[in-house]
Amino acid sequence: MFRLQLVPAGTNVQFITRRIAYFIFSAVLIVAALGLFGVRGLNYGIDFQGGIMIDVKTQGPADLASMRSTLSDLDLGEVALQEFGAPDDVLIRLQKQPGGDHAQQVAVEKVKAALGTDVEYRRTEFVGPKVSEELFLDGVYAVCGAIFAILLYIWFRFEWQFGVGAVAALVHDVISTIGVFALLGMEFNLSTVAAILTIAGYSINDTVVVYDRVRENLRKYKTMTLPELLNKSINETLSRTVMTSVTTLLALLALYFLGGEVIRGFSFAMIWGVLIGTYSSICVAVPLLLYMKLPRRAKSSGEVAEVSP
């Protein structure tokens, strides 16, 4: 019977010997991400910046130009119009209105009055300055809290070296994801934070599986050199790593192409996260262990074939 095997048995890719190349790549990635974040900044959605977002469906293809001039006449600051998934679907975004929480409300009424009742209001959201500030802080707390909690868990279950390696890979994934959002100017909102936390969970999941094998092999092969042992661990789990990435990507691609416009940004972030998370587990988290003096009790000689778990 036909069997698909993405990674054939006995595959032995030299990951560890190429580690310097990976480190350089990752360093460039991180520097570029931080640079983009610093220079271009993020395109914060109304969740974090406050402001108004109205999604309307017009009868027939939308006339963006006339809509723009109608809305510009209202004197509500910068008005951004964008086709949203279909020619008759327009996303209108207004800046946070000066004058506190009440002013946002007034602006929504003005826009609705100007557009009239010919359009279907699919979504109306406004977030006042108070709430957007809180949501932003909550997002920061959530990401930092998750990283810290994961560090604690790994530390508790493994040696501290593993915790440091895992969190380094995790931070790598989070920063590079933020960099991609800065590069593409994609809207960064609450669901992006949800995606980042899920990426964190996924990336750690991957890292833990390889680390688990490293730990097992450390007990099993007491005399094998560390680079050799790490490389063996990666290759032994490579088939699983690839399988899980592929099934997750299949599901996410379905979500990206079929799940609708509203969660496309979320699906995109997740797809990127799965790719970078898989890379970082293998090429960052494991090679880093080389530099942290893993404790090895190399008392017994020869290889111990079996150790009961």
Binding site: M1, F2, R3, L4, Q5, A9, D55, H102, Q105, V108, K112, E120, Y121, R122, R123, E125, F126, V127, G128, K130, V131, D138, A142, G145, A146, A149, I150, Y153, R157, L190, A194, L197, T198, A200, G201, Y202, N205, V208, V209, E216, E236, S239, R240, T244, T247, T248, L250, A251, L252, A254, L255, L258, G259, G260, V262, I263, F266, S267, M270, P309
Partner: protein, 527 residues
């Protein structure tokens, strides 16, 4: 040995059976599900506002206004007391959370302090040298005042929303001074927002006939009077017409027992008919009897709705407000008066409204994405692991069933990000089985017999599975803790999905694999 305890088999069967039972109502129409007999599960997954359409409003009670109001009442009582006792003072007013006043006659300071220090139990009074008195509201008093204002506001908000006929609104307090309002099925909340935006404090005042508005605006406003704009009358230059009215509240909206929209019998204009309670009715009769021919102003939230002349005493305890209403605005005013006044103004901090069209589109897209994602993953697993893949796929289907059943039982709202969480679970749930199967492959390669390879595969993979899933669970918990609204829905489905995948992968597929092994006793594993 490959052994599965009897009780474990029973547990697995029970969980799967209950899963099917509890998810089943979701495949019926809503009415059919509700018509199910009482002893059968009949709860369907409740959809979040972003899927069923509806409006989410976060309101803030401006508690500073209530605190200030209380201090202003204290200012008034101090003024009255000191005047009565003929004690001279200066600088009487509200400063932050305190009322301050300076007693000019130092000799009488102690006497005066004794008079005013007990006027409000919620303040800490202090007399300094030089006759300066500071009365500061205690934290306790502020908190009590805030709490009662928020509770009262919730009650009024509920009454107003109920009157509009919205079905099953959720109105809950959030934090110290916020109210969360969720209105399922409301896609244009403008009327609700307009109703909630009005404090609806109504009061009746006499118009001050001694000064004209022009004189008052020029600065000759008598101390007991105030200048208020009309809500709809305009002067020739387009500005609201002003009235000079006495500050003293003759009667307030609290005395109303009913208000209904109607039409004036002569002009057939929309009006609001109201009725006072017994005490209010008597007072209204006395006021109108004593002030025939004077103008009587009805003030709502600082605007004069109307200021008609009192032609004759009104003794029945009922009255009529006419003020260029439309039918809608008469109806709204009547509603506001019936529901009562808010203790403090409400500000809308956040609104998220989804129309029914987008909600339905999102559900349809979510369904398609889930089904296609499921088919892709199922096919891929079969291609890779053959018979074992089929078993993992059965487990995956049960995983979906258990997620659906848990959502139905817990009545946790399914949101659009929640659907994304389910699709993600489809991809990630097979991970546990992938780990196990890959391990079994390895064990087969080093020459183990089928049974011992399966045994070793499961026992070795299990710690990895637990560790790997715990970290995702940590992320989900933090997301729930700090996330809000729809994002929480994502955290919920993700967490449920992890729990369900642990169960289905570790117990259900294992049961299937072991049963198959025992029945067919294969010489080699088709993995």
């Amino acid at each position: 040995m490959v052994y599965f305890a009897k009780w474990k088999i029973v547990v697995v069967a029970l969980v799967c059976g209950f899963g099917v039972l509890f998810v089943a109502p979701n495949f019926l129409s809503r009415d059919a599900a509700e018509a199910l007999p009482e002893w059968l599960p009949h709860k369907q997954i409740s959809l979040g506002l972003d899927l069923q359409g509806g409006s989410h409003l976060l309101l803030e009670v401006e508690v500073a206004a209530v605190v200030k109001e209380r201090l202003e009442i204290l200012v008034d009582s101090i003024r009255t007391e000191l005047r009565k006792a003929r004690i001279r003072y200066s600088g009487l007013g509200v400063r932050g959370h305190s009322v301050t006043v300076t007693l000019k006659d130092v000799a009488k300071a102690d006497e005066a302090f004794g008079l005013i220090k007990g006027l409000d139990r919620g303040v800490t009074p202090a007399l300094e040298d030089g006759g300066r008195v500071t009365m500061t509201l205690t934290e306790q008093a502020i908190k009590e005042r805030t709490d009662s204002a928020v509770e009262q506001s919730i009650e009024i908000v509920r009454r107003r929303i109920d009157e509009t006929g919205v079905r099953e609104p959720t109105i809950i307090r959030q934090g110290t001074d916020r109210i969360l309002v969720q209105l399922p099925g409301v896609d244009d909340p403008e009327r609700v927002k307009r109703l909630l935006g009005k404090t609806a404090k109504m009061s009746f005042h006499l118009v001050d006939g001694n000064v004209s508005p022009a004189e008052a605006m020029a600065g000759r406003l008598p101390p007991g009077s105030m200048l208020l704009p009309s809500s709809h009358e305009k002067t020739s230059d387009g500005r609201p017409r002003m009235y000079v009215v006495r500050k003293r509240v003759m009667l307030s909206g609290d005395s109303l027992v009913n208000a209904q929209p109607g039409t004036d019998s002569r002009t057939s204009e929309p009006v609001v008919n109201f009725r006072f309670d017994a005490a209010g009715g008597k007072k209204f009769g006395r006021i109108t009897r004593d002030n025939v021919n004077r103008l009587f102003a009805i003030v709502l939230d600082g605007n004069i709705i109307t200021a008609p002349q009192i032609r004759e005493p009104i003794l029945g305890g009922a009255g009529q407000i006419s003020g260029s209403f439309t039918f809608q605005s008469a109806q709204d005013l009547a509603l506001l008066l019936r529901a009562g006044a808010l203790p403090a103004p409400l500000v809308i901090l956040e609104e998220r409204t989804v129309g029914p069209g987008l909600g339905a589109d999102s559900i349809a897209a979510g369904k398609v994405a889930s089904i296609i994602g499921l088919l892709l993953v199922v096919g891929f697993m079969v291609l890779t692991y053959g018979r074992f893949g089929i078993m993992a796929d059965i487990a995956l289907v049960f995983n979906m069933i258990l997620i659906g059943a848990s959502l139905s039982v817990l009545q946790a709202s399914l949101t659009l990000p929640g659907i994304a969480g389910i699709v993600l679970t489809i991809g990630m749930a097979v991970d546990a089985n992938v780990l196990i199967f890959e391990r079994i492959r390895e064990e087969v390669r080093i020459g183990r017999t089928p049974i011992s390879a399966v045994d070793a595969g499961y026992s070795r993979a299990i710690t990895t599975i637990v560790d790997a899933n715990m970290t995702t669970l940590i992320a989900a918990v933090l997301l729930y803790q700090f996330g809000s609204g729809p994002v929480r829905g994502f955290a919920v489905t993700l967490a449920i999905g992890i729990a369900a995948s642990l169960f289905t992968a570790v117990l259900l597929t294992r049961l299937m694999v072991i049963t198959w092994l025992r029945r067919s006793r294969p010489q080699s594993l088709p993995i």
